[in-house]
Amino acid sequence: MTTTESRTLTYAEAVREALSQAMEADERVFLLGEDVGTYGGAFGVTGDLVHRFGEERVRDTPISELGIVGAAVGAALAGMRPIVEIQFSDFTAQAMDQIVNQAAKIHFMLGGAATVPMVLRAPGGSGTGAAAQHSQSLEAWFAHVPGLKVVMPATAADAKGLLLAAIDDPNPVIVLEHKLLYKQSGVVPQSPARVRLGETAVRRDGTDLTIVATGVMVSRALEAAEQLAATGIEAAVLDPRTLRPLDSKTIVDSVTATGRALLVQEAPKTGGFMAEVSAAIVESPAFGHLTAPVTRLCGLDVPIPYAPQLEKAAVPQTEDIVKAATGLVNQW
């Protein structure tokens, strides 16, 4: 068997494989979180890991997010490589002091004398009917904080490769997984191949416009691009994957070539991450090549509602992307 072999795994299985390979490779790596043990994780991500690595290294915690993250910060400072699972990204709100004021700042505040090599994984996003306190897309909160790195894997391969890179990283890394993606499958390399942090992926080439999307919006953008192609519009689809540090160069190069940018995020528009991407484009030489205004397609500025028809209306769907892209190309 070659170590470069690939097979199809679900996104959740890909995360689990990264966790198990990291634990096998490094004694310092351990997991902690609510129900990550026998229960296997709220979304089944940790699965059977407790049976393979034991309760010390796959550690069930009480329901106390601030305590969990604080414990990880301390363990990381003391030489371990903790990986925290926060059951829903919404509950990072409970742990915000530890994430923002402790984890993110300790290295800086100590003049570089200490590092906090920890990973915080948390599922975000809507689409499950879990309503306002369990469905948010909070990436902009974290991307705003110097000292944190933020990744949003959109494919199974990236779920594995980015997580492995995050575990290697000497900084606190927030990995925002999307709960709708957990069951989606993709080709994943068997080897513990890293996907470097800070590299935007070009998911599809195109000449008429550049669609930049994150999380579950990447697959919707790709679906939209297929439909657009049938009408003669060729859209490039770019997935930043890492929001901080952001590889804006790949985005700028693409927009320079196409002259149009459609930025798609699930999170509400105001203060969202795509505002940052927009600024990165208009602050660059791509500005001179724009033939259309940089355009954002975002979730509505509302909390995520419960009713399925309302939830769907609150965030961009494939048809919304098609419509926005068509308008952008035809109007400009």
Partner: protein, 325 residues
């Protein structure tokens, strides 16, 4: 007051418990048949806690509730059709389809809201208690939460505020032995969570949460204390949830025998028998309570089903108050 021996109280207690049971069985069924979406946390097996506790409250008293809140909502007097409509994503639901099971509130009956955040309602209850105290009111606030909630910072901060300010709050821990898969034993070093009260200088008791009488007695005493201006108390009610934590639970963390042993202590069956033995209810009375609950739930489903779906046209309306478009 004797719930078991008094005909009208026995009937009321039994009706409430059966209504909760039948409502949740119906929800479970709608869910299994794909007619209800989202997620669902059922309190089947725990009915004695909300029934006993809310009976100790007066109209105008407040409660805060949890993700497992159907029972609290019903016991505090919510309308079944509006609850069902909410779960069925209808415009006539308590939250017009925006909230769902985890966010139902019924302010008219003093239910300040279910909460999807574990322990989220605890400091809110203290805040409501503070408002009552500042207004010089007579109301009491009862906060329901699970055994898992007592390890959240929010719980400690909420209880401490109520304690130092002598707020009229009753903290009711529904100890169903698990916070999702985490057993209460593994999550806390103390055997009785009621003992945690000592750290805040307030009374704490632990009672049989499958006996509405014990819950009622303990909560009544705490309510009396709160109304007298003597501050909060903690009541730990020992009970059990028969079903999984939510729809995705594989129940790997507890045994069949354990679940069976608690099913044998079904709070409803026990109370029914006791009330019949005490002569407060006849077999027919008990059957009537059961049938009535079933009929009310069926009617609620019919009414809800006939209502219009929640409409996305007004989705942005209630984001900010006073800015209805």
């Amino acid at each position: 007051m004797d719930l078991t021996g008094n005909a009208s109280l026995a009937r009321e207690t039994l009706r409430t418990m059966w209504t909760i049971r039948r409502f949740e069985e119906a929800v479970d069924d709608l869910f299994a048949r794909g007619l209800m979406h989202g997620t669902m946390h059922l309190s089947i097996g725990q009915e004695a806690v909300p029934a006993g506790a809310c009976l100790a409250l007066a109209d105008g008293d407040y409660i805060t509730s949890t993700h497992r809140g159907h029972g609290h909502c019903i016991a505090k007097g919510a309308r079944l059709d509006a609850m069902m409509a909410e779960l069925l994503a209808k415009e006539t639901g308590y939250c017009r389809g925006r909230g769902g099971s985890m966010h139902i509130a019924d302010v008219a009956t003093g239910n300040l809201g279910a909460n999807g955040i574990v322990a989220g309602g605890v400091p809110i209850a203290s805040g409501a208690g503070l408002a009552v105290k500042l207004r010089g009111g007579q109301q009491v606030v009862l906060s329901f939460f699970g055994d898992g909630a007592v390890n959240e910072g929010a719980w400690h901060e909420g209880v401490n505020l109520a304690a130092i300010w002598d707020l009229p709050v009753v903290f009711v821990c529904e100890n169903n032995h698990y916070g999702m898969s985490m057993s209460a034993k593994r999550a806390a070093k103390v055997d009785r969570l009621g003992d945690r009260a000592a750290a805040y200088g307030i009374p704490g008791v632990t009672v049989d949460g499958n006996d509405p009488q014990e819950v009622f007695d303990a909560v009544s005493a705490a309510v009396a204390r709160a109304r007298a201006g003597d501050g909060p108390s903690l009541v730990e009610a020992m009970t059990y949830r028969w079903k999984g934590h939510s729809k995705s639970d594989k129940n790997l963390y507890r045994t069949r025998e354990e679940i069976e042993s608690w099913r044998e202590r079904d709070p409803i069956v026990r109370f029914e028998r006791a009330a019949i033995t005490a002569g407060a209810l006849s077999e027919e009375d008990a059957a009537e309570c059961r049938d009535e609950a079933r009929d009310r739930v069926r009617a609620a489903i019919r009414t809800a089903n006939a209502a219009p779906d929640a409409s996305a046209a007004s989705l942005t309306d209630a984001v900010y108050a006073g800015s209805q478009s």
